[in-house]
């Protein structure tokens, strides 16, 4: 007797979008930084995300020079690094959570740690750990071939980013090259909860992308409230929240931090229901 082949990472991400869609919702994608505020809290928080209402989870591999991140995530990464968190730790935290039934999980990482780890070896490690893929914000379309060559044969998701400065035709090319979903950056600048998303341009961008493809679109950067999530889920297929979640448990560790994160995600989850 043979068991059915395991679903690919890409397929599990697609399934998460499809399941939410069938329920009349958009997906909610929280970002956590592995090892922040400490390893145990971060593992417990990741485990709590599914029951709290997350459909997909992004787990950050801490990096000391995060060009695309604002002060909140940069500080979280620094705390994790100060605590000795490595790429292996991050993969182990994700693997354990996935084993215990966490939602489909993506790693969020800058390119250099992955380059040093080895692209093929990293892709193998993702598959072995049950992780669905990775988001690598400092690798634009021009430089993505090496990553794709490692990810595509393994069925791993590789969402690429579209920014407000991306011309329409290029956005369509990026969306076609994305595996899993396309990450719409909601405004200029870096990740931060202090400036909200610019939904006006996103609506236009989504409309232009929809003419070419039905592949899922998720909105991130500046999402910090249930109202933001509701707007994102009305326009696109989901919302990504990072800085606001980390801000929510600022200064806390252990059960207190986990409870706060769970409550915050529960609150944001109310925004995922499509009222149209």
């Amino acid at each position: 007797m043979t068991t059915a082949p395991a679903m690919t990472g890409k397929a599990r991400i697609a399934e998460a979008f499809a399941r939410a869609h069938a329920a009349g919702r958009g997906v909610l994608v929280p970002y956590l930084c592995a090892g922040d505020p400490d390893r145990e809290t971060s593992a417990a928080m990741l485990a709590a995300m599914g029951p709290a209402g997350a459909d997909i989870v992004e787990l950050g591999i801490p990096y000391g020079d995060p060009l695309a991140d604002g002060p909140t995530i940069a500080a979280a990464a620094q705390r994790a690094l100060d605590g000795g968190t490595t790429i292996d730790d991050a993969l182990a935290i994700a693997e354990e959570a996935v084993k215990n039934g966490a939602p489909p999980t993506l790693m969020f990482t800058y390119y250099n740690p992955v380059l040093q780890f080895g692209l093929e070896r990293f892709a193998d490690a993702l598959v072995a750990s049950g992780i669905c893929g990775a988001i690598v914000p400092d690798v634009p379309l021009e430089e993505v071939d090496d990553l794709r060559a490692a990810f595509a044969p393994r069925g791993l998701a590789l969402p690429l980013l579209v920014a407000p400065t991306t011309p329409t035709e290029r956005a369509q090319t990026i969306a076609a090259a994305s595996e899993g979903f396309t990450y719409l950056v909601s405004r200029l600048g870096v990740t931060s909860a202090s400036t909200g998303p610019d939904f006006a341009w996103i609506a236009d961008r989504v409309a232009s992308l929809r003419t070419k493809s039905a592949a899922p679109l998720a909105i991130g950067f500046g999402i910090s409230s249930a109202a933001h999530v509701a707007a994102a889920c009305a326009i696109a297929d989901g919302a990504i929240v990072g800085s606001a979640l980390i801000d929510a448990y600022a200064g806390m560790v252990g059960a207190e931090a986990v409870d706060r994160a769970r409550a915050f995600i529960g609150e944001l989850h109310t925004g995922t229901v499509r009222t149209r």
């Binding site: 000391g64 020079d65 390119y111 380059l115 040093q116 634009p140 920014a163 400065t165």
Partner: protein, 407 residues
């Protein structure tokens, strides 16, 4: 001369555009504007007029016959970039990028700075062209280089202390990229070295190659032949790329880059990236990087703030791997000795960065022997470093005294 390929790689291996998507459009816009400017004789005419009237070019050559005074040693010749307005080669680049910013209609210029030299050079051209300047500088550097901070303010620039990470040049560069991403439409980012995403490494070299072109003509005019060796210090590597560019197509001219070894090449915190680093991605390009095996960028150490950087320009990585240039290193102590020797025997207080090149050039002149012509890029003057050297040596004397008393 080497031109990067269409994707911005030197030798197909080093360079590229590793930046968030939000900046890709700006890099493309910059590349198009740069190519148009480079093809426009009027652009270069204005650039050279400003270099002549404002910067004071061409800079002279000086035979350093007391710095290298052994009878059987090669002749050492200084290219006097220290005589430029603002005291270093940095201004060649900021004039070029400043003119490009104005040509592109940008309303604001931003820059990163370590010791403050590039910040001052950027503030200077901002004042001259009437474009507001914001400079990002590590909070530690703001404290250590208060004089340059004040000079930037005098020139009308705003200086922003960066408190993230190690609070030095690496973090100032991260912050400048972030600030560019936040206001990309009307902002021009003037990078201070041959680093960053394509087209910066190539563009900055093109603005610095005036050093090499002048030197080559001056050598032929004065000596009737090319130098046997060209020596320059390398942090990010812009003064070195500038002078190398004049000679890279002359295969008999040996090119030497001198990195900062800090306490030594085997110290964990050396800044000698090409000697002790490994290939990685930092600040938008693939090159050598001082990093842990896990890919975290290391905090480096050099007595010279301008060389205290964990990355290096991708074209240098290419010149190293192709064997066209050789990269060596000088320690803090080597550099300090050369700093004093240059002051006492040539009447020039040079920058600590430059002193690394001088330390190696003296050894090379002995090895090369009579008949050799060793051209050194005297990349900057050392007024900015005098207080730091004085403090460093006072501390060293105090430590030695403590040792003596203990013994």
């Amino acid at each position: 001369m080497n031109k990067p390929d269409a994707r911005g790689y030197f030798g197909g291996m080093f360079g590229g555009k590793f930046v968030p998507e939000v900046l890709v459009g700006a890099l493309q816009e910059l590349e198009v504007a740069m190519e148009a400017a480079f093809a426009d004789p009027a652009f270069w005419a204005e650039y050279h007029a400003i270099l002549r009237d404002f910067v004071g070019r061409p800079s002279p050559l000086l035979e350093a016959n007391r710095f290298s005074d052994e009878a059987d040693a090669a002749t050492v010749i200084f290219k006097r970039e220290d005589l430029n307005h603002t005291g270093a080669h940095k201004i060649n680049n900021t004039v070029g990028q400043g003119l490009l910013a104005r040509r592109m209609g940008k309303k604001r210029i931003i820059a990163e700075t370590g010791a403050g030299q590039h910040g001052v050079a950027t503030a200077t051209i901002g004042a001259k062209l009437g474009i507001p300047v914001d400079v990002y500088m590590g909070a530690l550097d703001v404290e250590r280089q208060s004089l340059n901070v004040y000079v930037m303010k005098l020139l009308g620039a705003k200086v922003h202390g960066v408190t993230g990470g190690t609070q030095t040049l690496k973090d100032a560069t991260n912050e400048a990229f972030r600030q560019w991403a936040a206001r990309v439409a009307d902002t021009f980012y003037i990078i201070g070295s041959v680093v960053g995403a394509h087209p910066y490494p190539y563009m900055v070299r093109e603005f610095q190659k005036v050093i090499g072109i002048e030197s080559r003509a001056q050598m032929l005019e004065r000596y009737g032949r090319l130098p046997t060796d060209v020596v320059a210090c390398v942090g990010g590597g812009s003064n070195a790329m500038g002078i190398f560019a004049g000679f890279v197509d002359d295969p008999d001219v040996k090119l030497w880059g001198v990195e900062a070894a800090g306490h030594g090449l085997h110290a964990v915190d050396t800044a000698a990236t090409l000697n002790a680093g490994t290939i990685g991605v930092l600040h938008g390009s693939r090159s050598y990087v001082m990093q842990t095996p896990a890919g975290q960028v290391l905090n480096t150490h050099s007595i010279s703030a301008g060389l205290d950087y964990p990355g290096v320009g991708p074209e240098h990585a290419f010149l190293k791997d192709s064997g066209r240039a050789t990269y060596v290193a000088a320690t803090d102590d080597d550099a300090l000795a050369a700093f004093h020797r240059c002051a006492e025997r040539e009447g020039i207080v040079c920058a600590l960065e430059t002193a690394h090149a001088l330390a190696f050039a003296r050894d090379l002149a002995r090895k090369r022997g009579k008949g050799g012509l060793v051209l050194v890029n005297l990349s900057g003057r050392g007024d900015k470093d005098t207080r730091q050297v004085e403090e460093h040596e006072a501390n060293a004397r105090a430590a030695a005294l403590v040792e003596t008393v203990r013994a």
